[in-house]
Amino acid sequence: MKKTKDFDILVIGGGHAGLEACSIAGEFSLKTALITLPSVPIASAPCNPCIGGVGKGQVVRELDALGGVIGKLADLSGIQYRTLNESKGYAVHSTRVQIDKKLYPEEAEKHLSHYPNIDVIREKVISIERDESFFIIKSENQNWFYRTKKLILTVGTFLRGKIHRGSEQKEGGRIDTEASLSILELFKGIKVLNHRFKTGTPARIYRKSVDFSQTKEQKSDPGVLNFHWEFMEKPRAIEQVSCYITETNSETIEIIYANRDKSPMYNGQINAVGARYCPSIEDKVFRYPEKKTHHIFLEPEGLDSDTIYPSGISSSLPREIQENFLKTIKGLEKAEVESYGYAVEYDVIDTTSLSYTLEHKEIPGLYFAGQVNGTSGYEEAAGQGFIAGANAALSLLNKSPLILSRDDSYIGVMIEDLVTTERDEPYRLFTARSENRLYIREDNAYERMFPYRKILGLNKEIDMFHMEHWKKRRLLMNFCSEMRLARDHSVFKSKIFQNYPKFDNKISIKELIKWVKVDMEFALKTVLDVFDLSVDWYTLKSVAISIKYEGYIKRAELERSKVKNLDKMLVDWKRLCSSENISFECKQRIRKIKPETFGQLKRIKGIRPATLAIASSI
């Protein structure tokens, strides 16, 4: 006879979503469990060994400011730091960190072990049942079954996962583990999308077999701020290394082109949708045959690791063909393959059946987060995991939910996109998905997340940090708008300001800083030095950048408020569908989503301007 173990919150799946979910649940001192497959390390990186990127770096900083773990783990295992889009303006600066693939999961496990109220259970789940207000989870364990009030599913690509490499096929979500059950078997009545999603990964190459002298080196940038708030003014945790850039050539392309019939994506073996933004090398070749050179980033998988991740050439071609095309690439002529690339196809749940807390609308207490929701990327998964975990906890404690607005966070953008529209390809965050890019930046993540952190109602060290940062920021901001300088002030003697045009009266420091246009943080620092004031670098930078964008943000807000009013306008979707002037495809999409407002209608993918014009006139 099996005995019962009771939990408040139970998370199935120990990836990046699952880790954040149970970590934040743990913060609330609730009895929490994480069930994950025995053979897989927690929060491992089965694909790119990196955290962050355009749009994603912002998410990592948002999570860090909310009390998530991804930023801290990335810093503890970070081996190369870069700021992407560095030349393109502060608002689109994004941090990306290469991580040590072995160290990261170790740090993750260490982190969880600090919580006495989190049980990590390494077992394979066999069944999930509902019993009034509980979920009952049975695993292969002979002695126990588990009962929980809230259940969070973060099962990644394991729902009817199927792996392809050439004609080889295997059930499973990852090459090194076994498959999970179909969601339909676990729960009747949960809608999965009709189409399956596909993702893929490239071969791994032995580091010693690469000739780096033929590639371009990309060093770690010491100027990039660490992700985690406690490490803000600290040096890197571990040694830094370089990445290397090479590219494909016409010979590479020819080999792939000649083997179309052996590609599972192109010979019909895989019938799933891959992401257009993260194509396999086969996709690149067959879709754009005229393009011969594609960048390849050679990323070390760790300090002690003997493998390289070649980013940009994920492939599900047979082993020998992968080997052949790799050897045409500069620097990889003698490449030895450690493991070959493959593609996975998997089931994805219909996220329009979830609410903004990621709780299932029809099955209270059940939450979904991560790749099972059709997203790609560790950062996206972590963001959802945090939201699901925090809301499961808040709901148990009868507190108001944590819902991030799309106006002030990429996490908010992502969740609204997921729950309001059906995905037809894997979802990744881009800065383009936000309407408020000038405001949702990395440098002001603390300012943006402060109010949300308050909603959690936890009184921890990070909350002190927030309070302090907030006060400093406000002080500095007030100083910049209220302190007014005459032209003969000694500030104007410094090199950066000496060409400032003559003026009568006085101007504020704000006006002075705005005039500088580039390197505003340096300008502000110069002023503060004159006044003999010192502020930490990230507060200073955040204030300087906020001053730069102030005017633009105000104007954009005004524009958006117009759009928002229009977005709130109610639309009658039934009537839209009866209109003769709307295309059949548009009508189908409208019927599926049943939009109630113009804003929802607008966000449905593939809705044509003509349809919007018609809707706005009804």
Binding site: S87, G89, V92, F430, Y552, E559, E580, P609, L612, S616
Partner: protein
Amino acid sequence: MVFDDLPIVACSSGEGSNVAISLIRFSGFSSMALLEPFFRRKKTGPIEPRYSYFAELVHGEEKIDEVLFTFYQAPYSFTGENLLELTVHGNHLNVERIIKLFCDALGFRPAYGGEFSYRALKNKKLSLSQVEGLDLFLNANNLFSLKQGLSLLSGELQKEFSNLHKNYLSHRASVELSIDFSEDMGERKAQKELMDSFLLLKSTIFSLFERVSNELNMKSPEIVLFGPPNAGKSTFFNKILKKNRSIVSPERGTTRDYISESIKIEGNHYRMIDTAGIRKAKEGIEKEGIERSFSFLKTGFFKILLLNPAEDNQDFLEKIGFEKFDILLLTHKDQQEEFKDIYNDKLGDWSYRTNLLEEDLNLEKSIKDRIHKKYLKVQMEAPIQVGRQKESIREIYRSCLDYEKIILQEKDIAVISSELYLLGGEIEKLLGIVRVDDVLDHLFSNFCIGK
């Protein structure tokens, strides 16, 4: 303008005078069965949509008229609702009596001006630009407006606007590309994509702008006679019209206000306008006349400057500055040579000399030819005539110029993108992706019942 959903009725063929037949339209009634008892047909049987039936219009036992009616079933009608077209005898008393009958008996309400078209728009039988085209079509005084009205009705211009929107989206995409994917794509390629797509967008906007940049009123194009007092404007006006319409007098300033007459050249209708003479006004009314004559210079289609070389025109020429004219007409044939140089640089590329007091067989023909040539030329350029579209395209153009400055100077792509968003807003307005209520108010208050 707030409309209800009541069934409406109106005489569509014009009211007021007695004509042979009139067309009354009914729209928005729930079923033809309601109206059927009013029609006594020789053969009974179901009323098929889109067939014409001859019948006696009756109210109980009383016969009211002999009529022809056609029923169009929703949604296959002009308004998208159940629609009945009724052809009756055109005496206006008869028409009024019939309309009143249906209002009293079946709760129809007389339609507001433009309401049939409004319902067609509301029920998506017409797009906004089609309704605007209909307005142009119905109120066209010349073949040109008729043609553009028809082109709007068939949605052709809408296609060009959609193309503009497409080019905007592709530029917008290239901006996003250079932010989110410049690493994958390569910085140089992303930058090239950005500029190429901008140039395409800009050229689309500029070519649309050309079509609205003149202020010509092509709905009823005006021929404007302009000149100092006593230059002979009224004499010329009368000569062309062969009518004694203006008060002609040798005393300066006799023509106090502009006077206009309709004139037909090669099948097109124009309004010929004789403006007040310009000189230092002593009376209020004359001053106003002068202002108005200047305003005609802005909107006029064909501008004729008349000068009498015998007078001292120096003051006058300074006053008109650099206005462009289509013809310089020197109204006294003698003493021509010495004046040529004074005026040539400033005034048009074509001048004609005539003595208005003498017979000049060539004068009328030359000027008419010139007017028609210009008409054909403008027609080739296909200017956009609907006021809302014109204003919207001008806004897009202005916004595009602002944006161009930013994209060339600003290094911060997020700022560029935010500026582009403003331009996008203007483009979406043109396509009608806005609440159109206020547009509709403007539109429907300016024109009268539809097709």
